[in-house]
Subunit: 478 residues, 2 copies
């Protein structure tokens, strides 16, 4: 670490022209959200057909905020809003939009405008828009584009969805290893057709295989006569073009990458992925687990409602047999319950507390698997750890609840049965919370999607079984 | 989009020297995890006191993989592993380590080595290590550091934890607006003491306030005689030094930033945050919700076990009264249950299915709040949406379950009560799933932490109440 590296005081002292930023600030509340009054004002202007006022209001906004505005517009009015905003719906706005909202917006745009916008976007963003169009529109948009842009997009579309090939952009800077820093800088300055947005330069060999990566800051800090191969870092992370995007995101995180070279099966450089394309994947993937674990599918509030209903209903239907299985366990003891209804009152506490404990373990294990922290090297250690936690919590809760029950019902047998069932179900919860997701993961089934059903089934059935079973053995229902 | 921008074929054709990468590959499995055999081999060497073999095995690894190795080492053997690896535990390794594991490792290092490592790290990473030391060690480490490094860290420590001030690094490049591109490049090349890792140059006014940001690629692509103020982007996102890190992460995502200037309350540039420091926060914050929602606290498998037990036990204890409340509701109907035990068998299905539906809605709403998608502008729309989903699912499930029950028990009253209770509880679940987190958020309580208790309470109590209540009204238990 060196001290703050700053240049001398600048030679001009007049205030900077910050006025253009001012209107942006005033439309945002302290959380950086658009103010509801502002959104309402724009919607009203659009409703009244006063597109000019609407445009005047929206014009000062940052593209990311225009995207937010479109997301906050109710679905059935999005087409009109899109029409009103016209060319304010820029390429940048599109790339910031939520997937479902973007579908609405793109649908409201004429195909020529889509083609124009797509040409301005990075390949990955353009592909994201075009891949969702229906076949006919897709064809029309592609035909309206320049041949090179079209070729780039068609090539990206040839890779499976959610792989590096779809994410990457083709605009990148690659230079031969023998070039000097000076030659590279001259090339960058003199080549008109180069991209302006890149953070690293890839150094390639004669076969166009990347052999090193060079941060721009290194190029700028080095004398002109040094060879690029002496500046570059050889130890690089190459992304195979067919790698799943979640895996790509994990590599970016693990190796703290800003950009990475994408290579075809022959090892040749075919594209580049930058961290800004990855950030939303990291966020999505990390947030996805919670939604999957609770059976909410994609869990997007902008998802078409019928799709949401179908996803959630399916999950509830999958859970139904497990709820019925638990009911069947209760049914085994209906005679005891009829004689001693307190059992029915308390059995839900046993299954519920077990369910809570199981969910805790499950959430921890699912996150640990997703972040590559739980691997085959430490599974046994984690199982043992969860078992100790479950036993400790089970004993604590069992004693507490047993004592509480004794003071309420003055029945030592009931108190002991209750406490013991709580302990047993906590241990069941701890074991199921680890083994279910780990086993599913071994069989390459996403543990976030399917674990909760099995864990709840275990804690419900074993909760009822242990409590009602022990109660029967203790003669409580006879 | 232009076509792939690559330089001509390089002039040398011999194969690149990739050998140094080879040993890294062979120690990793196809998921980029360290192989269990490899981890076991290193641990065995350390156990036998054969530090030399251990070092030879570990030496070819990437720092991120050395960090993984330390994480996979059981807690009680981490000190010995740290000792064995010696200076292979580099600054980079430390910055990649999980917080809890880093505590173990740093504890095993002598203070002079900590001071040396901290000097090599960016301010933010150095602070992360030093802030966790106890007061005495902290003093000793700081005293062993160079005065400037020490000043930077002491200044960072003066900001509250989890704010931009802790995250930022002081090593940055700022130039006056009147400088030309050429002068800036010369300054970068001729100033020995500058950082080499930066992605953007900040342009500042006489008061050292940032007035624009300039990507390095723009500097490289522009003629030397153009003024920096004509190259820079004026529309920039400034991060106040006391901004919460979660908010910083949201800004980085929203505006797709690579780096951002941090300013003090007077608007002066005091530091810079880069996206690689943000990526793990985005990931943590997105993953945190699932853990909080399930009451698993930090949910880290490396957390000290006692802390985990305490966190989880507290959550289970918080849930106990709600489970008891639900039991109290059941208790109101114990006479009916004693007469007709089928009620006890089925009531769990009603509460359980409602709980599942509530969890779905809750997960979606918590994520939407966390990602700034649910704001006061669209709350009403989301409530209405969830209500429609709940009603649709409730009617579908209610009819299905009612019909099923009729064919099993041949009791039309029971079937209708069962179906109606399922419908009612689905609607309760939908409403609670939205209103509980939204209300908590309004009162600035993290909805992820506290929502689940309330939602489960609603679905349990209302599930029992509607089913047993309707059954009583229908005379089923008499």
């Amino acid at each position: 670490m060196s001290e703050t590296d700053a240049a001398a005081a600048p030679s001009r002292s007049d205030a900077p022209d910050l006025e253009q930023d001012a209107p942006i600030e005033t439309n945002l509340d302290e959380d950086d959200h658009l103010k509801p009054e502002f959104v309402a004002a724009v919607l009203e202007a659009v409703d009244e057909g006063d597109f000019e006022t609407a445009r005047k209001l929206v014009e000062p906004l940052h593209p990311a905020d225009i995207a937010d505005l479109l997301e906050l517009t109710p679905g059935e009015r999005r087409a009109e809003m899109t029409e009103a905003l016209g060319d304010l719906v820029s390429a940048e706005v599109l790339s910031e939009l939520n997937d479902y909202v973007r579908d609405d917006v793109v649908e409201a745009l004429p195909n020529e405008q889509i083609a124009e916008l797509a040409s301005e976007l990075d390949t990955d963003d353009a592909v994201a828009i075009i891949e969702d169009l229906d076949k006919e529109d897709q064809q029309e948009v592609l035909e309206a584009m320049e041949p090179e842009d079209r070729a780039a997009i068609e090539s990206a579309l040839s890779y499976p969805e959610e792989t590096a090939g779809r994410l990457m952009q083709r605009d990148l800077v690659a230079v031969p290893e023998l070039w000097s820093v000076g030659k590279t800088i001259d090339y960058l300055r003199d080549t008109v057709d180069l991209t302006s947005d890149f953070w690293e330069i890839f150094v390639v060999d004669a076969a166009y295989k990347p052999i090193g990566t060079c941060q721009l800051s290194w190029v700028l800090r080095c004398p002109r006569d040094i060879a690029m191969s002496d500046v570059m870092k050889r130890d690089q992370t190459l992304i195979p073009v067919d790698m799943d995007q979640e895996e790509v995101a994990l590599r970016f995180q693990k190796y703290a990458l800003i950009s990475a070279a994408v290579v075809d099966p022959g090892g040749r450089l075919v594209g580049m992925i930058t961290v800004d394309d990855i950030v939303h994947i990291i966020q999505e993937e990390a947030g996805e687990d919670i939604l999957r674990l609770s059976g909410a599918g994609d869990g997007d509030i902008n998802q078409p409602i019928l799709l949401t209903v179908r996803t959630r209903l399916m999950w509830l239907l999958i859970n139904l047999p497990t709820a019925m299985l638990a009911a069947t366990v209760v049914n085994l003891f209906d005679a005891e319950i009829a004689k001693y209804a307190v059992l029915a009152v308390l059995m839900g506490i046993v299954s519920g507390m077990g369910g809570n404990a199981g969910t805790q373990t499950l959430a921890v294990v699912v996150r640990a698997i997703a972040t590559n922290q739980l691997t085959s090297s430490n599974t046994r250690r984690v199982v043992f750890r969860e078992l100790r936690i479950a036993a400790t919590n089970g004993v604590s809760l069992g004693i507490l609840i047993g004592i509480g029950a004794f003071f309420i019902w003055h029945n030592p047998a009931l108190a002991m049965v209750f406490g013991a069932a709580i302990l047993i179900n906590n241990i069941v919860a701890g074991l199921a919370g680890v083994f279910v997701p780990v086993t599913l993961d071994r069989f390459n089934i996403d543990p976030a999607i399917s674990s909760a059903v099995f864990v709840t089934m275990c804690t419900d059935c074993m909760g009822f079984m242990s409590f009602l079973g022990l109660a029967t053995l203790a003669g409580l229902g006879s």
